[in-house]
């Protein structure tokens, strides 16, 4: 399988990448593990690829202004190995280790995953549950998009055409925060048939991000409301699981029917809530 022809350039800085994007029908290339398969099938035929994988300012994890800042071009393998992130929110490393396989994790990036917005990708659920902001930069400068506003539909996001994701900013969790990511993986691709990320703060606030179920990742707000400030006991968990997906219309495909997906979502939401109870 051979992609159609395109031009290729390597960007050394974010501003160079933004400029290249605005000059042509270019597409950004990070890890390439979603884009290159699409090029091979010729589902995507950009005239130019701008390689952002070596831009230093997009790499690595650090703390700044009370936020954990993950550079957009940080790979999954780097996320899993980061001691600081593991000390703050260990479930993010564990959740990342469920993505694809070792080779994919060595090259795929968090920014690529969010920009691609595959309805079965894992990180969308994790940015929702951690109340992250997606930091983006375009010709007009920087802005922050709340994770809850970022995913707008099937493979679509709130990113403007010439914008690039620069970082994922997660509020440093108050001490005693617990989180988990529970996933039923599609057995062949290991994408999420259903993935549930759940976080509970010491103040009793619960946030739940769901992926795989519908055409975009979302917060399970009905369940969050039932649980906030309450004990995560059997009664409350039952009520939350019952309410969570009452109005959701799950996807249906050759891997799982809508009815089965909804059933999985309930089972995995319960698992997640028991984990953080």
């Amino acid at each position: 399988m051979i992609p159609a022809e395109f031009e290729y350039s390597k960007a050394n800085t974010v501003d160079e990448a933004i400029l290249a994007l605005s000059l042509s029908e270019a597409k950004l290339l990070a890890g390439g593990h979603s884009l290159i398969p699409a090029l091979k099938f010729r589902m995507s035929r950009p005239s130019m690829l701008v390689d952002i994988s070596r831009i230093q300012e997009l790499k690595g994890i650090h703390e700044e202004d009370g936020e954990i800042v993950i550079g957009a071009a940080t790979t999954y393998a780097e996320i899993m190995a980061d001691d600081y992130l593991r000390s703050q929110l260990p479930f993010l490393a564990a959740g990342t280790s469920t993505i694809g396989d070792m080779q994919v994790r060595n090259y795929g990036t968090i920014g690529g995953s969010l920009a691609h917005a595959d309805p079965a990708a894992d990180w969308p659920a994790m940015v929702l549950a951690t109340d992250a902001a997606i930091e983006v930069k375009g010709p007009e400068g920087k802005r922050r998009i709340n994770a809850t506003d970022f995913f707008t539909g099937f493979f679509t996001t709130a990113l403007d055409e010439n914008e690039i994701i620069t970082a994922i900013r997660i509020p440093v969790p108050p001490e005693g925060t617990v989180g988990t990511y529970q996933k039923f993986a599609q057995p062949a691709s290991r994408y999420a048939m259903v993935g549930v990320a759940a976080v509970k703060t010491p103040g009793g606030k619960v946030r739940i991000g769901i992926t795989g179920l519908t055409e975009k990742a979302f917060r399970a707000s009905a369940a969050e409301e039932i649980l906030s400030g309450k004990a995560l006991d059997d009664n409350n968990i039952d009520a939350a699981v019952e309410a969570a997906f009452r109005d959701t219309e799950p996807m249906s495909d050759r891997f799982a029917s809508a009815v089965y997906r909804k059933h999985l979502a309930k089972v995995y939401l319960r698992k997640a809530l028991l984990e953080i109870a």
Partner: protein, 160 residues
């Protein structure tokens, strides 16, 4: 516009001018004639094309040759030292870790990455590490045994 890339493959430096759309696996097989790296699928699932890029296992069918510019690549051809097979190669032979052998180069390159990071993996860790490599012949059991065998052998070599 074609692009000139400089790479080091199995310790040898190469400089080639390639089309941006050339996949790394095609560069290795068709330009350098290193045909030990296989192509088993179109969907990035089978792992037969696994190589090391700067020491890390990656699927060379899902990378462009231009992305490897400036990097070091190891393919299955680069594992043996002179006449001495790599412990993993020896282990696959010893434990019958292959039948047709099509998946073997990829299996070995992935297992080599695992053993670099975790010289003492248990069975579950081996199976998890090999999730991105498919074998249609062996049923995997002997592959897992081979990786365990190689790990033991490599520890002994370090101890000596």
């Amino acid at each position: 516009m074609n692009i000139t890339i400089n790479v080091k493959v199995n310790g040898v430096k190469y400089s080639n001018t390639v089309e941006p759309r050339l996949l790394l696996v095609h560069y290795l097989r068709d330009v350098l004639r290193l045909t030990g790296t296989h192509i088993g699928c179109d969907t990035s699932n089978c792992g037969a094309c696994t190589i090391h890029l700067n020491g890390m296992a990656t699927k060379s069918c899902t990378l462009l040759a231009v992305q490897a510019d400036g990097m070091e690549i190891t393919t299955i051809e680069g594992l043996a030292k002179d006449d001495q097979l790599h412990p993993l190669q020896e282990a696959f032979r010893e434990c019958h870790g292959l039948q047709c052998g099509f998946c073997t180069p990829g299996m070995i390159m992935t297992a080599a990455d695992l053993l670099q990071h975790n010289p003492n993996p248990n069975e579950e860790e081996i199976r998890t590490a090999l999730e991105g490599n498919l074998c249609r012949c062996t049923g995997y059991h002997n592959i897992v045994k081979a990786v365990e065998f190689a790990a033991t052998k490599m520890k002994k070599e370090v101890a000596v």
